[in-house]
């Protein structure tokens, strides 16, 4: 029996998303085991089940041959299982030693005097053994991200964890730090600790992992030895062969009308609040009557690019052109120019949850010209419009006056989509338009997007769901680390290359 065995694990989220379906997973002591998959493949959910932050619906977990019940992270830590999340669990105003000590203390320790010197001593010895160098007296808020990550790992080692779950640990590190980090992982291996390494980067799997388990859409595709496996094989396993996805929708990809670039994005650069380039010189054109898909793993600058085009994020370099005329980087002007925008996070950007359906139907709408008013907001025509849209788009709601947050996710998405289409836009930007929706709602939204294309509108579809991109797009671009890595027509898409590009491997001419 392997040292860690997870058997028949299933998890369905309350919104109906099947995150894990009958997953079997195993790991041996002293191995680095990669967990590979696209966004939403269930990697993080599986590890959260193991760490006790998510309760599983079905399945059993065996640790060192014994069946265990893990109901909370503290249960997990008692069993020697520790997890480093993508967002670190640290208190910025505390020193490293204080953060580590906080990990240890519990309610019954309040009377015990805290001996920080002892904690520091132990941190130093952990640093020495593992190679995770960090100053125990440094304030966490003054540390670089890579060092904060070390603190998070040290916290777990301090508690005696010997099975470490690392959720996309390299996403915050630069290449040099990654190199050092892999050395640390190898040292763990020598100490017979087990590392489960979640990633979507194919090269990293091959570089550091002994074995890899590939997940796709909540199911295990396979577990294999990394020796003798090629990057290509992994890429195909990760994103699927894709052929069935292409066949499912009959709509053929279209040749765009020549010389009619509806939207031109010219060398756009977007910085985040720290000044890091999230979008690094992106250029492309979208023509009327085509769906231009941008694929890629979440967090590679797509969100910033989309918000910049929509006029929300600041474009620090580069320009946008709408029908040949420059489009100013201002949300108000973008709204007035007839650009529809379906944002990625419904209840964060696209809706005001407490507002009624009718009130949400005018969010981000140019009310002045639509209802011919500058100041007074007459609800009668707004409600009338809302009722029409509810009927036209078959939005399931008792009436237009209920708070939009009481609708199901699919119907919330329909409210946004209906609203954006009702603007009769020239261009529509759809960012993760079917995220978290069930099959019928997904299908409905997909058909709407295809219909818009057939009406001659330009559609920018940005999605981390590769199937969705393949089903709908006429041309496909892949975005990685803020750059467009390649653009090709759908017929010419090479699945292998697509997977490689998404996995962060530069597309090279072959």
């Amino acid at each position: 029996m392997p040292d860690l065995l997870m058997e028949g694990i299933s998890k369905t989220y309350p919104n109906g998303v099947k995150a894990l379906v009958d997953v079997n997973f195993e790991a041996k002591n002293g191995e680095i085991h990669g967990l590979l998959g696209e966004n939403g493949a269930g990697k993080t959910t599986l590890m959260n089940v193991l760490y006790g932050t998510i309760t599983k619906d079905a399945g059993t977990i065996y640790l060192n041959g014994k069946r265990v019940e893990i109901g909370s992270p503290s249960d997990a830590l008692k069993l020697g299982v520790g997890m480093v999340h993508q967002h670190f669990m640290l208190i910025p105003a505390f020193t490293v030693a204080e953060n580590v000590a906080a990990m240890e203390s519990s309610a019954k320790d309040v009377t015990k005097k805290l001996d920080l010197n002892k904690v520091k001593e132990k941190i130093r010895s952990i640093s020495q053994i593992s190679g995770l160098e960090v100053d125990p007296d440094a304030l966490v808020e003054n540390l670089a991200v890579g060092q904060q990550q070390r603190v998070d790992i040290i916290k777990l080692l301090y508690r005696g964890a010997n099975l470490l779950l690392l959720d996309e640990p390299t996403s915050v590190l630069n290449p040099l730090e990654i190199h050092h980090f892999f050395d640390v992982l190898r040292r763990f291996k020598q100490e017979n600790k087990t590392v489960i390494f979640i990633t979507h980067k194919l090269e990293e799997i091959l570089e550091v992992c002994d074995r890899v388990t590939v997940l796709r859409k909540g199911r295990v595709v396979g577990t294999l030895d990394t020796k003798g496996v090629s990057i290509r094989e992994l890429a195909v396993m990760m994103i699927g062969a894709g052929s069935e996805a292409l066949l499912e929708y009959s709509a053929p990809s279209r040749q765009p009308e020549e010389s009619s670039a509806a939207l031109r994005v010219d060398n756009v650069v977007v910085l985040d609040w720290r000044g890091v380039k999230k979008v690094d010189g992106v250029s492309f054109e979208i023509h009327s009557g085509e769906i231009f898909g941008i694929a890629g793993v979440e967090g590679n600058g797509q969100a910033e690019l989309v918000r910049a085009i929509a006029g929300i994020d600041l474009i620090s370099e580069g320009r946008l052109y709408l029908d040949g005329k420059e489009l100013k980087n201002s949300r108000k002007i973008v709204i007035k120019s007839g650009v529809g925008y379906i944002p990625d996070d419904r209840l964060k950007w696209g809706l005001c949850g407490n507002f009624s359906v009718a009130e949400n139907m005018i969010l981000g709408v140019d009310v002045e010209s639509r209802f011919n008013t500058r100041f007074y907001l007459n609800y009668r025509p707004i409600k009338k419009m809302a009722r029409e849209l509810i009927a036209r788009f078959k939005i399931v709601t008792p009436n237009e006056n209920v708070p939009v947050k009481s609708l199901s996710g699919g119907n919330q998405q329909k409210v946004i989509t209906a609203r954006e289409i009702s603007k009769e836009p020239r261009i529509i930007i759809a960012h993760e338009p079917t995220h978290g929706l069930d099959i019928s709602a997904t299908r409905y939204i997909h058909n709407l997007l295809l219909e818009l294309r057939n009406q001659g509108k330009a559609v920018l579809l940005v999605s981390s769901d590769t199937d969705e991109i393949l089903k709908l797009s006429d041309r496909i671009a892949v975005m990685s680390r803020g750059k467009i890595v390649g653009i090709s027509r759908r017929e010419e898409v090479n699945m292998e290359r697509l997977g490689l590009m998404m996995g962060g491997v530069r597309a090279t001419a072959e």
């Binding site: 609040w273 907001l377 609800y379 199901s408 409905y444």
Partner: protein, 371 residues
């Protein structure tokens, strides 16, 4: 077709953009009753008769014409400062500066009344405009610091309250009344004072101004495009960006509007029929109580009026309870405090939620023409 599930069917009341929510009203009434209950226990435990205290409280605030009149008078300026707090809360801003803004507004109202003696039709609007300006002036610094430097407005407005308090304390010595040893100022010209509505009570025409203010705030919040933007900003700052709201301009507009309303609240107090002079010790609390009023009113304009009546009743009845029962004033304040705190629970929850909404506000650099 997918099955649209409605989780809370009870929210299906015919509610448009506007909202007068009877469920919320019932909530508040029950909480006030709970507050009375706790107070009764405290009163009994302290060795007094709860029945006497509560009947005196109700009698002296609502039971007699002059008592009711006093309650209404207290509620006049509280409604206005309450509205100031409400409109800021609605935009997700915590204008604790209504206190200082009310001082400055009150003092400006006094200055107009001191220097000018036009007929009331001119004088009274002048008083209102001047006090609005005074309050607005005191909101300028926090408003700009918040909008352009993201300095927390709670901190800056509290600082401005202190500065305002010391400033008007000094200024009032310049206009010190020649009579007696009192520190307060001379009386304003009678034309600058609001006139009594009834001969038997203190309530004056100021209450008309407050009601007008309430109607305006209500209309702006629920029947205008700018009010829509204010409400979106308060509930979901991200959706506000999506809707094209310029957060800087919104912050400036709402802070200055809130300051103006608070200033008018101060003017209604200073130039009231029974006051007519500026005195920092009596005006203290008009703004901070306005914040309480707004919370009691669940951050809704109409609730604000009801909250002002409750708090006004507490203030108006305090001396009567002391006389009727011989309770020490501190104990009276404790029991009225319990009632008010109980009533503000839903408002406090709303406020905390708004504060939590703001946490995620640090976002990538925002586009727009303003930089």
């Amino acid at each position: 077709m997918e099955s649209g599930q409605l989780q809370n069917k009870e929210t299906e009341k015919p509610k448009g953009g506007t909202s007068i929510d009877f469920q919320k009203l019932a909530e508040s009434v029950i909480l006030v009753l709970i507050g009375f209950g706790i107070s009764a226990v405290v009163i009994q435990a302290a060795g007094y008769s709860a029945a006497t205290v509560i009947s005196t409280l109700v009698q002296s605030s609502f039971g007699t014409p002059s008592g009711l009149s006093s309650t209404l008078w207290e509620a006049t300026s509280l409604t206005m400062t309450g509205l100031a707090a409400t409109i800021a809360f609605r935009a997700g801003l915590f204008n604790i500066g209504v206190e200082g803004q009310a001082y400055l507004g009150g003092f400006m109202g006094f200055l107009v009344g001191y220097y000018f003696s036009f007929p009331p039709v001119i004088e009274i609007p002048l008083v209102i405009v001047a006090s609005a300006l005074g309050g607005l002036l005191w909101a300028v610094v926090p408003a700009f610091l918040k909008a352009y430097r993201d300095v927390n407005e709670v901190v800056t407005t509290i600082m401005m309250n202190y500065i305002g308090s010391y400033l008007v304390s000094y200024l009032q010595t310049i206009y010190k009344s020649p009579y007696g040893n009192a520190a307060y100022t001379s009386q304003v010209n009678p034309s600058a004072q609001f006139t009594r509505l009834f001969p038997w009570g203190t309530v004056d025409t100021g209450i008309i101004v407050s009601i007008l203010g309430l109607v305006v705030v209500y209309f702006v919040l629920w029947y205008t495009t700018i009010g829509y933007s204010i409400r979106v900003s308060g509930i979901n700052p991200f959706a506000a960006r999506y809707a094209g709201v310029n957060p800087k301009r919104m912050t400036l507009f709402v802070m200055l509007l809130s300051g103006s309303l608070a200033g008018i609240g101060g003017g209604l107090f200073t130039n009231a029929s029974i006051i007519g002079h500026f005195d920092i010790t009596t005006i203290t609390g008009v703004g901070l109580n306005g914040i309480t009023v707004s919370l009691v009113g669940q951050i809704h304009p109409i609730g604000t009026l009801l909250g002002a009546l409750l708090v006004g009743a507490m203030v108006a009845s305090t001396p009567f309870i002391e006389i009727a029962t011989g309770m020490p004033p501190q104990l009276v304040q404790l029991i009225t405090g319990i009632i008010v705190v109980a009533a503000s629970v839903p408002g406090i929850i709303l406020m905390v939620r708004t504060a939590l909404n703001r946490w995620g506000r640090r976002k990538p650099k925002q586009a727009g023409s303003d930089r």
